[in-house]
Subunit: 364 residues, 2 copies
Amino acid sequence: MLRPMANVYAVIMAGGAGTRFWPASRSRRPKQLLALGGGDEPLLAATVRRLSPLVPAERVLVVTGEHLADATIAALPGVSRDRILCEPAPRNTAPCIAWASATIERLDPDAVVMVLPSDHFISDESRFREVLARAIASAEGGRVTTVGIVPTRPETGYGYIEVGRDLGGQAKEVARFVEKPDRARAEAFLAGGTHLWNAGMFFFQARAMTALVAQHLPDLAAGVAKIAAAASDGKEAETVREIFPTLPSVSIDHGVMEKASGLAVVPGDFGWNDVGSWQSAWELGDKDGSQNALDADAVAVDAKGNLVRVLGEAKGKKVVALVGVEDLVVVDTDDALLVIPRDRAQDVRLVIEALKAGGKKELL
Amino acid sequence: MLRPMANVYAVIMAGGAGTRFWPASRSRRPKQLLALGGGDEPLLAATVRRLSPLVPAERVLVVTGEHLADATIAALPGVSRDRILCEPAPRNTAPCIAWASATIERLDPDAVVMVLPSDHFISDESRFREVLARAIASAEGGRVTTVGIVPTRPETGYGYIEVGRDLGGQAKEVARFVEKPDRARAEAFLAGGTHLWNAGMFFFQARAMTALVAQHLPDLAAGVAKIAAAASDGKEAETVREIFPTLPSVSIDHGVMEKASGLAVVPGDFGWNDVGSWQSAWELGDKDGSQNALDADAVAVDAKGNLVRVLGEAKGKKVVALVGVEDLVVVDTDDALLVIPRDRAQDVRLVIEALKAGGKKELL
């Protein structure tokens, strides 16, 4: 079941901006290029590596921003440069996916495409690939398919997928997509067992996506057709630079998925973490007996539940000493140091706003 | 009254160890070499500078440890090298003061000596010199004299001086020295108005100190006499290295002052701060509207009462961002970063102990 499937391609969406992991993340070093899952492996490299038993690197396309091209190539030594698609401007996920899918359709008109985020963490990679294989099988059967994460808490920060009737092969019909719920609804979803988290993973025949985009986003379809025509003439790069920034900026969820019918969803329970903030990095980190996720050289006295990360020149050299503090995030880089409570980790954006207002663009 | 007095010499005790201001202070960069009073002026340099209208640099002796000689000379461009006395080993304050006083007595048998700590902060320097002049006048009259600080809080961390009858010239007799009190006694001292803080400032005729040491600490007197004899033969350095480490390790308070009679004290109210911990550094720092004492480049969002200091290579370059934290001390250096609540600032010593236990001597 887990043999490589010759007509299956992966599209890794790696265009994220670097704000929630400031000061580690920057506009030119966004989250997917950081080793937030532990060790020294960037999240993007882990994403490609864990796919490899199913989809070898030569059938992986990575879509990123032009300004991230060099760093993305450097993070993925196994992926050749012509498999990196560079967006000249961010246009949300629908143009990204439509362009990548059309590119794959030219390589193989019968291709099945899986679209995956580049910046998530998965603890059970073997189980993950089993779920992917089921989703691919569902897509091969003709249904646009997604993988929904089995909720483990009443999360109000994600969109949900309500599941409908059973379709066999552990796939179920998508009853509807549900916007981020309030706390009461999130608790009901968790208790009810019929809602899954939308993790932005999609599986489809390339030609089916072409048809859906033509049906629901005709302007996008026309733009992608122009790019495809230019690609046949060897002029793709110039045309992308001209056309891509004019494409409608819309998400694949709103632009296509929520309007399409007959979608399938396969539930996934493989230790998924969207690594959404420093709070998630703490959750994923190795901890001492006082729940501190520290660098090797840290000294913690009467300190509990803290995350410490030293990056840049001082990594592995600098000692961080914590005394009498709890549940803090301390992140040190060459030119910036952040101290914030874990439960306010989302408010890193306030620092970004203050730096923007102060004209400190070199720190963003 | 404030003209320079030709026979008045100052001894600055600058042998402190660097623990309470870790990671800024280290064994080779103790507190007196740090600019903890603001600006870029080390506390030691400020000590010499604010004396200069009374005592010019050529009549200032600085006693420090051998390992601190170069850094001490570098911090005091106006003081010549032969005015720096280097202790080969720390022996508390009595040997330091006896040696320095004997050295001055050789230069001028009629000298009056003032002994001052090197690592305190004084906000009203003009008032400070007025008080010193009174203490000098008292010492010139033959009494060993001290300056006692008028208490501003029920401090339990200092020794006190109980004042007796009035001696004229704003000097009073020392009734007795009092050990660090408990909270209730400290409150009674504050309310009573007859107790002053012992700040370790002493004023005396050099020959009077020689007599007191001979009377109360004969072993010390004998050792200092050997050093003095060697100095006359131009062999002081070798003899100090041989003799000094064998001298009794005792404080001038216990060894001499508490045993002597007829001592005088002049009350001082000149904005004194002993800069005892990072808490004091916060008290002395320039603060924003939220009581944060920050470096210029810091970003504080919903943050109150914090102290931030960046030292070393990153000074003036690195941005420190605080979000949602209160009353923290954050000190960043090239090789160490400290995060500790202000009200636990004394517990920096726990970090020192942990680093010692971990064999990290290079950080001490």
